[in-house]
C-alpha cells in the first residue's frame, strides 16, 4: 500500500468532511433535537411479542432501538411513556389526501336523453396537453406531480394516529398512479415514501364520450392494454434496428401501461360487490395483472379466488349504515340492503380466516372518528385485535412494497409511531403523540377527542364542516362590524346564533351544501331598524368569505375565522 502524502490526506479528509456536510440536512442538523426516547411504555411492535414496559429510541428519522432493556441516550428528549402504548404509525391504504380539490367540471349539459350527444369541451388535460387519450383514460397521470403538503384532511387523519397514506388520483377510468406519503413534511418531496406505487382503475364511464357505459369501460381497458403490448413490442423492434422501419409514434399513455401489463406495477381496481370484484379478477387474469382490490365490501364471498390469485384487498372501513330517517310513507328498506350492512362488518374476519391479505382504508369516511368505531365493529364480528393492528401496519406496508421501511417497530425502520393512552381500539383511548419521520407532529387540541367516540353525524360530501365559534367581520357599507358566530353542523343542517354590535339571536334557514357553501338568515339591527339579513359564504379551511344581502340595501360582504374547531 503506497504511503499517502500527509498534506494530501488532510486535503482528502477535508473533502470527505465537506462532502459529508453537504449530504443533506440530516447531517447538518444533527443535534439533540432529533433524538427522542419514549420510556416506560408498552410497545406493540407487530414484528414481535408485545413488550409491557420498554423504550423506543428515535434518531435521525429512524427507529434506532426498541425493546425492554434499552438505555436512554443522553442526547435524547425523553417522553415519559408510563401508561402509554406505542404502535407503528398507522397506514391508511387508500385516500386522496394531499391532492388539490377537483375543479368543478363542465356540467354534463342538462340531463335528459340527448345529453350524451354533447361533445364535451376538453378541459386542460391532466395528463398533459399532448396526451393521446381523453381525460379519464390517461394512465400517465401521477399524484406525485400534484401533492400539496397541507390541508385539513391531513390533520384529521393524523389526529387519529394515521402517519402514512396511499394517495391516489380521484377520478377517471385509468385514474393514474398513486404514491405512498407520510402525512408530514414541508415539501411534497419530504412526504413521499414511494412513488409510483400502483396504477389505479375505476369502472366509472365517462360522460358524453366513449366509453359512456360500463360495457365500454371494459372494452376500452382491454383495447388499451392490447395497444400497450403492441407499443412495447414495436418500440423494442424499432430500437433494435430502426433502419427500414417507419418509426412508431410515441405515446405516454401507452408507455405508462407497459409496467402494468408486464406485472411489474400493481393495479388497484375499485370493486365492492361480489360481481364487481369477480369482474376485476377476470380482467386481471385475462391480462396477467398484479391485482389489488380496493373497497372489497363483499370480498369475503370470493375469498378463495382472491387467495388463489394472490390478490390483496384494501378493505374500506366506511362500513355501510343506514342514514335515512324512519318515515311511515317510505318503503321498508330492501332485505338485500339490510343483509349487506350486517355482512359488511364480518368481511375482515372472514378474509383473515381465508388467508387473504388485506389492509384497512378509510374509504372516504366523512368523519374520521368513525374509523376506530368501525374497526371495533370488525373486531366484534370476527376479526382478531392482533390482525386488526396488522391490517393497519405491516400488511399495508408489505402490500405496497415498503415492508422493510414501515409497518413495525424495528430498528432501522422509519420512525413513524402512534402513541396512545389506552389500547388503540378502545373507545376511551386517546392519541397522545404521533411521530412521522422521527419528528413529533403537532396534534390539534381537538386531537384529545377520544378515538372511539361515536360519530355524531355523517356529513354528506363536505369535510371540515362549519361547527365552531367564528369571529366575523361584517361590512355593510359603514365599515367593519364585529360579531361572534357560533355554529353547529349536523348533516347538511346548520343551527347556531350570532352575537355582536349588530344584534344577537338565533340564525334560521341555515344549510351547508356539499360544495361547502353556507347560507343562513338572521335579523340584524341596522340604523335603528331590525332587518333580515341573508348570509351566503364559502367555507375554506377555517375561513368563510361571502356576501350579506339585506332587502332594500346594496349587498355587503363578510369574513369569518374559526378560532377553535369543535
Amino acid at each position: 500500500m503506497p504511503k499517502v502524502h500527509p498534506r494530501l490526506s488532510v486535503a482528502l479528509c477535508t473533502l470527505v468532511l465537506i462532502a459529508l456536510c453537504s449530504l443533506g440536512e440530516a447531517v447538518a442538523q444533527r443535534s439533540g433535537i432529533d433524538t427522542y426516547a419514549i420510556t416506560n411504555a408498552r410497545i406493540v411492535s407487530v414484528s414481535g411479542p408485545i413488550v409491557e414496559r420498554g423504550t423506543v429510541v428515535i434518531r435521525n428519522g429512524l427507529i434506532a432501538a426498541a425493546g425492554p432493556n434499552i438505555s436512554t441516550p443522553p442526547d435524547a428528549r425523553v417522553i415519559d411513556g408510563t401508561g402509554l402504548t406505542v404502535y407503528p404509525g398507522l397506514i391508511d391504504s387508500y385516500t386522496n389526501l394531499a391532492l388539490p380539490e377537483p375543479a368543478p367540471g363542465p356540467s354534463p349539459g342538462g340531463g335528459g336523453p340527448g345529453a350524451f350527444l354533447l361533445v364535451q369541451p376538453q378541459t386542460r388535460a391532466i395528463g398533459g396537453p399532448n396526451s393521446t387519450q381523453p381525460v379519464g383514460l390517461q394512465p400517465e397521470v401521477m399524484v406525485e406531480d400534484t401533492i400539496r403538503s397541507t390541508g385539513n384532511e391531513i390533520e384529521s387523519s393524523r389526529n387519529i394516529g394515521i402517519t402514512t397514506a396511499l394517495t391516489a388520483p380521484r377520478s377517471g377510468i385509468w385514474m393514474g398512479q398513486s404514491a405512498l406519503i407520510n402525512l408530514s413534511g414541508e415539501t411534497p418531496q419530504q412526504m413521499i415514501v414511494r412513488s409510483p406505487v400502483a396504477m389505479h382503475v375505476s369502472f366509472t364511464p365517462l360522460r358524453g364520450t366513449y366509453p359512456g357505459s360500463l360495457m365500454g369501460v371494459f372494452a376500452q381497458l382491454r383495447q388499451m392494454m392490447l395497444d400497450a403490448q403492441r407499443y412495447r413490442d414495436s418500440m423494442q423492434i424499432y430500437e433494435r434496428n430502426p433502419r427500414g422501419i417507419r418509426r412508431p409514434e410515441t405515446d405516454r399513455s401507452l408507455a405508462a401501461l407497459v409496467p402494468v401489463i408486464e406485472g411489474r406495477m400493481p393495479v388497484v381496481m375499485l370493486a365492492n360487490s361480489e360481481r364487481e370484484i369477480s369482474r376485476a379478477l377476470d380482467l386481471g387474469a385475462e391480462f396477467k395483472l398484479k391485482l389489488i382490490i380496493a373497497g372489497g365490501r363483499e370480498s369475503d364471498r370470493v375469498a378463495d379466488r382472491l387467495a388463489k390469485q394472490n390478490v390483496p384487498v384494501l378493505l374500506s372501513l366506511n362500513l355501510p349504515r343506514r342514514t335515512t330517517a324512519a318515515m311511515p310513507e317510505a318503503d321498508p328498506e330492501p332485505m338485500r340492503t339490510l343483509r349487506e350492512r350486517v355482512a359488511a362488518q364480518q368481511t375482515a374476519g372472514k378474509l383473515a380466516k381465508a388467508g387473504v391479505r388485506f389492509a384497512f382504508q378509510s374509504g372516504s369516511l366523512a368523519n374520521m372518528s368513525d374509523l376506530m368505531v368501525n374497526v371495533n365493529r370488525t373486531i366484534e364480528n370476527g376479526l382478531s385485535a392482533v390482525d386488526a393492528v396488522r391490517a393497519f401496519t405491516i400488511w399495508p406496508a408489505e402490500i405496497f412494497g415498503v415492508g422493510s421501511q414501515l409497518g413495525s417497530i424495528e430498528a432501522g425502520k422509519i420512525a413513524n409511531l402512534t402513541v396512545t393512552r389506552g389500547d388503540l381500539f378502545d373507545r376511551n383511548s386517546r392519541v397522545a403523540h404521533v411521530f412521522i419521520d422521527g419528528r413529533p407532529v403537532d396534534l390539534r387540541p381537538a386531537a384529545t377527542t377520544p378515538l372511539g367516540t361515536q360519530a355524531t353525524q355523517d356529513r354528506p360530501g363536505g369535510r371540515g364542516g362549519v361547527t365552531g365559534t367564528w369571529t366575523m367581520n361584517i361590512n355593510l357599507g359603514q365599515g367593519d362590524r364585529g360579531a361572534t358566530l357560533t355554529l353547529q353542523q349536523e348533516g347538511d343542517r346548520v343551527t347556531g346564533s350570532i352575537a355582536g354590535v349588530l344584534g344577537s339571536g338565533e340564525i334560521s334557514n341555515a344549510s351547508m351544501s356539499s360544495s361547502d357553501e353556507l347560507r343562513f338568515t338572521v335579523p340584524l339591527n341596522l340604523e335603528g331598524q331590525t332587518k333580515e339579513a341573508t348570509f351566503t359564504g364559502t367555507l375554506s379551511g377555517n375561513e368563510i368569505r361571502g356576501t350579506v344581502t339585506v332587502v332594500g340595501q346594496s349587498p355587503g360582504s363578510f369574513t369569518a375565522t374559526r378560532a377553535r374547531p369543535n
Binding site: P108, G111, D331, P334, M335
Partner: protein
C-alpha cells in the same frame, strides 16, 4: 261440425251485404237488427249460466234470454251450438281513441292538455272514432271502454263509450262520466333508467310538494262549489248580481256536489290513503284507478265504499322484496275483503284488446273464474253506474254481446260474433286486413 261451418259461412256474408264492403274505417255503422242466437251456452254473469239457451236481440236491446223464449218473426238466426254468449267486456281504465301513435306522431296524441287544472278537457271531444285501436280492440270482445284524459292534476272528464260509431255522439254511453284527478305521486322517473337524472328527490320534499298540489286541487274545487251556488242563487233571484260564467269551474259543479264520481289515479298506499282522505274531506264520490297497493288498504276501501279499477295486474311488483305474485293476487284479496273492484289493462289503446288475459291471470292467482269474468263485465258496469244497461245478459240491457267458441278469458278461444248496441259488428280490423293482404304472398 261441417254443417255449422257452412251455416257460419252463409251468415257472415249476410252481414257483409247488409252494411256494404267492410273496411277498417266505417262511414256507416251497421243497422240495428233482430237476431236470435240459439242453442248456445249463455253466461249471463248476473245469474247462473244457461247451458242451452237463446238470446233475442231487438232494437238495440236484449229482448229475451232463456231456454224457452219467444223469437220474433223475421229474426235472423245464429246457430249457437258449441258456442258461448257473454256480455261484451268493459275496460274501465283506458285512453282509447285519444292517441294513435304515441312515439313519433305527436299530432295523434290528445291525451293530456297543457296546464295542471283542466276539468273542462272532455275526453269525448277528442275521441277518434276511426282510430285503428278501436277496431282491433272490439274484435277481441271488448265492447266498451272508459276513455280518460291524462296529465296535470285535474286531467279532465272521462267518457264511457261503445266501441262502435262514426262520431263521438254515436259512441257515447255516458259522455261525462267522471272527473279524473292524478293524485300527486310518490315515485319519480317514469323511464326507470336514472343515469343522467339528478339524485332522486328525498321523500320529505316530495310529500311537501304533493301537499301543495293537493291544495291547488282543493282550492279549485272550493271555487267551483261557490260558483255553483252563486249561479243557482242568481237563477232563483235575478236581483242578485249576475255572476259571470266560467268554462273551467262550470263543469266541476256536479262533481263537487257528489252527483258524479271522481276518479283518482293512485297506486301506492300513501297515495290511495291520501286520495280517500281528500275525497272524504271534499265529499266527493271517489273511485281509485290503478290501485297496486289496494290490497294493503282493503279495510279502508271497504269502510269508505271506494271501488278500485285495477290496472297493474301485468306490472312488475314495485318493491324488490314484494312477493312475486303480489299484483296477480291483488284482485283476489280485494274480493275476499269485500272491496268493489274491476280489472283493466290501464292501457292507452293498443293493448286493451288483451283485457281477457289480465282477468285470466287474476283467476290463476286466487280469483274465481266467474269473478274474473265479472271483473271485466258486471263489476265495471256497476262501478260506472251503468249496470242497468251493461255488464250482463238480462232483458232490457243494451245488446252488447260477444259470442265465442269457448271460455271468453282463454287465449285459444276465438270470437265468432259481436254485437254492440244490437248492431252486428263485422270482425275485421286493421290487423285482419293486413293479414289478408299478406298471408298468401308467394
Amino acid at each position: 261440425m261441417k254443417i255449422l261451418i257452412t251455416i257460419l259461412f252463409i251468415c257472415v256474408p249476410a252481414f257483409a251485404q247488409q252494411i256494404g264492403n267492410p273496411t277498417t274505417q266505417q262511414g256507416v255503422i251497421p243497422a240495428r237488427g233482430t237476431f236470435a242466437i240459439r242453442n248456445a251456452r249463455i253466461v249471463t254473469v248476473s245469474g247462473a249460466d244457461i247451458e242451452n239457451g237463446t238470446v233475442v236481440i231487438r232494437d238495440g236491446k236484449i229482448e229475451a234470454v232463456g231456454t224457452n223464449v219467444n223469437v220474433p218473426a223475421g229474426a235472423q238466426s245464429i246457430d249457437g251450438r258449441g258456442l258461448s254468449v257473454y256480455p261484451g267486456m268493459i275496460d274501465a281504465g283506458t285512453n282509447m281513441g285519444l292517441v294513435e301513435v304515441p312515439q313519433g306522431a305527436n299530432g295523434t296524441v290528445d291525451t293530456s292538455e297543457v296546464g295542471e287544472l283542466n276539468p273542462n278537457a272532455k275526453a269525448i271531444t277528442a275521441v277518434n272514432p276511426h282510430s285503428a285501436h278501436i277496431g282491433v280492440t272490439r274484435v277481441e270482445g271488448i265492447t266498451n271502454t272508459l276513455t280518460a284524459p291524462t296529465g296535470g292534476l285535474i286531467s279532465g272528464q272521462a267518457a264511457l263509450i261503445n266501441l262502435l260509431g262514426t262520431a263521438p255522439k254515436e259512441m257515447a254511453v255516458v259522455p261525462q262520466f267522471a272527473l279524473v284527478i292524478n293524485y300527486p305521486r310518490i315515485g319519480f322517473g317514469g323511464g326507470g333508467f336514472g343515469g343522467f337524472v339528478q339524485a332522486p328527490p328525498n321523500l320529505a320534499d316530495t310529500l311537501t310538494a304533493n301537499e301543495r298540489q293537493v291544495e291547488q286541487i282543493r282550492k279549485m274545487l272550493r271555487d267551483a262549489e261557490a260558483y255553483g251556488r252563486a249561479q243557482e242563487a242568481y237563477e232563483k233571484d235575478k236581483t242578485l248580481p249576475r255572476p259571470d260564467h266560467n268554462v273551467v269551474l262550470e263543469p266541476l259543479v256536479p262533481y263537487v256536489r257528489g252527483e258524479r264520481p271522481v276518479i283518482f289515479r293512485a297506486d301506492r298506499e300513501a297515495e290511495i290513503r291520501g286520495a280517500i282522505k281528500f275525497a272524504d274531506e271534499m265529499k266527493l264520490k271517489a273511485i281509485i284507478l290503478g290501485g297496486n297497493d289496494a290490497w294493503r288498504v282493503a279495510s279502508l276501501l271497504k269502510e269508505k265504499n271506494v271501488p278500485v279499477i285495477l290496472t297493474g295486474i301485468f306490472s312488475l311488483p314495485s318493491r324488490e322484496d314484494d312477493n312475486y305474485d303480489v299484483l296477480y293476487e291483488n284482485a283476489a284479496k280485494l274480493q275476499q275483503a269485500g272491496v268493489r273492484f274491476a280489472i283493466s289493462t290501464g292501457d292507452a289503446g293498443p293493448e286493451v284488446r288483451n283485457l281477457a288475459q289480465y282477468a285470466g291471470m287474476a283467476a290463476a292467482y286466487g280469483l274465481s273464474k266467474t269473478d274474473a269474468v265479472k271483473a271485466v263485465t258486471l263489476y265495471p258496469a256497476q262501478i260506472m253506474n251503468v249496470a242497468d244497461r251493461l255488464g250482463s245478459i238480462e232483458p232490457g240491457k243494451m245488446a252488447n254481446l260477444v259470442v265465442t267458441d269457448g271460455d271468453l278469458l282463454e287465449i285459444r278461444t276465438h270470437i265468432r260474433y259481436l254485437f254492440i248496441d244490437g248492431r252486428p259488428v263485422v270482425l275485421s280490423s286493421r290487423h285482419t286486413e293486413l293479414n289478408d293482404a299478406f298471408k298468401n304472398r308467394k
